[in-house]
Symmetry: C2
Subunit: 368 residues, 2 copies
């Protein structure tokens, strides 16, 4: 009963082998498949819970559980520490993902969650935008140009023929470093411009907000002169009281949450009554044709981050790691040959040398 | 920013070096210190939460969080699968413990939780029994002779001069294998007898119940002919509806929970009103003299398992691993040199070769 650990090094091996574009495409397609196959009764996805604190600095540590009944459970633990970049040169979001076998309670795998969180948040926006944004979208506004802006751009560039990125961040250094941070991506046709906030949002076909705006300090842009067909991916809201979008826009637009109950607690949907909230990501994905008319109207994807997305990423990375034979295998849990002997593992008759390589598949969804 | 992993092999190294008796003593003393120093306002210890299911077999997967504010947070994930021993030759309880730095969200360590859970559950009973049981206790009854019975006996044998163990399990094979399972312990003066249930509980100075009794099927023994000074450590209850002790005993005895709100939800205290519940483990430990008179009366320690105990074990094991230089150090989280560049770690300027060994101290309590 070993545990497979996929480290940063293993993620790098996988990305080098698969390619960043193909990985993003695969994440988007797997998420698409997962949403289409999703059946409420086969899953339990409780609201995330966690610690919030203001000491030593403002932060959040949350766990996001999801279980496919009779199969396995994934728990992502994610830290949100907006002062990380300036004070520690660490990402705002740090994370790990754990998967457990619900037949035995065994920890199957521990995987970096930082990279998959960035990818899946991009993939979710790509999926929602594929349904709701104008298919000829060429101009993307990024409000907030930090780490998430990179993956938002990347994911959307795989779905739309983007030509122009209009960039705004309250921190000029962050705006200025953006081009350098997307040089891993091959986007030869793309023109990146740092512009005033109103110019960014007013000229965009698609807007992504991914800010660390403080609780009660939203919205991050004014509701004026937006394109009649603009689609907004609001990625930053993930906490009660934190919102990024103007209420008047939300009232007017079709607002689609990733995970309804969570979005009503922590997302833009906090600002709305239940009756004013549109279809969620699963409904959007299943019934895309029905929403084609909205491509010419104003729409919002309220992305708070859904545990199912993490589950999908865990599957993807574990499956790729098995192909490539990467990962570290460790016998973490102390298990004795006699299950009722808690000290039995200290002696010779332990299970340390069993041949199980810890890479039990945990495929949750069929992928075409 | 590396993560230290303590595997079964590392635990074995630590135990071999420290010795099982000394480790149990250290766990008990650290838990004693932690309870004495414990201040509600410096900690957050939410109730555990989790998944319960009946497919593929009856089981629970729970997470138990604890945070020392401004410092670090520990999350133990624990599986309870009572069919594990018979169907998989695995322990009923499998577990891992994770500790996060709440300054950054970084995962500091991943440690086997199976062995520490067994040890700390023993240590908690030893601590409560030191206050509440008769100091001349010589006879211990074990109701349920599985894995937990071994560590209950071990922990109590470090505090009391036990001469006799009266053993009862509904499964004869489990009773019969018990002596073999305690041969790691040096208990030369101890006489182990398999006896009928009533003989076991009726002759005991201390009783430990550690059963997998099903919801609604308790109590596991009748309230008749118990010693007037008997102390009971009820270890098995950990789930709504699951209880081990007769209500009449609870009504008569001083009942002390480890963690009051949790015990009222999942422990023996479910059977009592709030006004009928005595001091908790922290109060017992702080004010032991006040409870000396109860050593001649009937008392119950309602042990549901408290996250603080896991925190203490994590500290103990991490601190010993640093002395011995054991553990595997892995860069799990993908972190780029530029915190706002989620793909930066893929290139050459990553932090992979930083010299941080991941063994940041997370000492929560001073230990004399």
């Amino acid at each position: 009963m070993k545990t497979k650990i996929l480290s940063m090094h293993d993620i790098r091996t996988i990305v080098t082998h698969v390619g960043l574009d193909r990985l993003m495409d695969e994440a988007t397609e797997r998420l698409f498949g997962a949403c289409r196959e999703f059946e409420q009764k086969r899953f339990e996805i409780p609201l995330r819970d966690g610690f919030e604190y203001s000491l030593p600095q403002m932060g959040l540590l949350e766990w996001m559980p999801v279980m496919k009944t009779g199969h396995c459970a994934t728990l992502k633990v994610v830290g949100y520490h907006p002062h990380n970049p300036e004070t520690k040169n660490l990402p705002t979001i740090l994370s790990v993902i754990l998967t457990f076998d619900t037949e035995s309670g065994h920890l199957i795998g521990v995987v970096d969650g930082t990279f998959p969180t960035a990818i899946r948040t991009g993939a979710a926006s790509a999926l929602a935008s594929r349904v709701l944004a104008h298919p000829d979208a060429r101009t993307l506004a990024l409000v907030g140009a930090g780490a998430q802006a990179v993956t938002q751009l990347h994911a959307l560039s795989r779905v739309f023929d983007l030509r122009e990125v209009l960039l705004y961040d309250i921190d000029k250094a962050t705006s200025n470093s953006f081009e350098n941070r997307i040089r891993n991506l091959s986007l030869p046709k793309l023109d990146v411009k740092v512009v005033p906030l109103n110019d960014a949002v007013g000229n965009a076909d698609i807007i992504c907000t991914a800010t660390s705006v403080e609780v009660g300090q939203g919205p991050v842009f004014e509701d004026q002169d937006l394109q009649p067909h603009v689609h907004v991916n609001a990625v930053g809201s993930d906490f009660p009281g934190k919102t990024e979008l103007p209420l008047s826009l939300l009232n007017r637009a079709l607002v689609c949450p990733d995970f309804r109950v969570q979005a009503m607690k922590e997302g833009e949907c906090q600002q709305l009554g239940a009756e004013d909230i549109g279809p969620d990501l699963v409904e959007l994905t299943r019934d895309a044709e029905r929403f084609v008319t909205y491509q010419k109207q104003q729409t919002v994807f309220d992305s708070t981050g859904w545990a199912l997305e993490d589950h999908v990423m865990m599957d993807l990375l574990v499956s790729r790691s098995r192909e490539l034979g990467c990962g570290t295998v460790v016998q973490i849990e102390s298990i004795s040959a006699d299950a009722k002997s808690p000290y039995g593992f200290l002696g010779a008759k332990s299970l340390e040398n069993d041949t199980d390589d810890g890479s039990e598949p945990c495929q949750l969804f069929a992928v075409d």
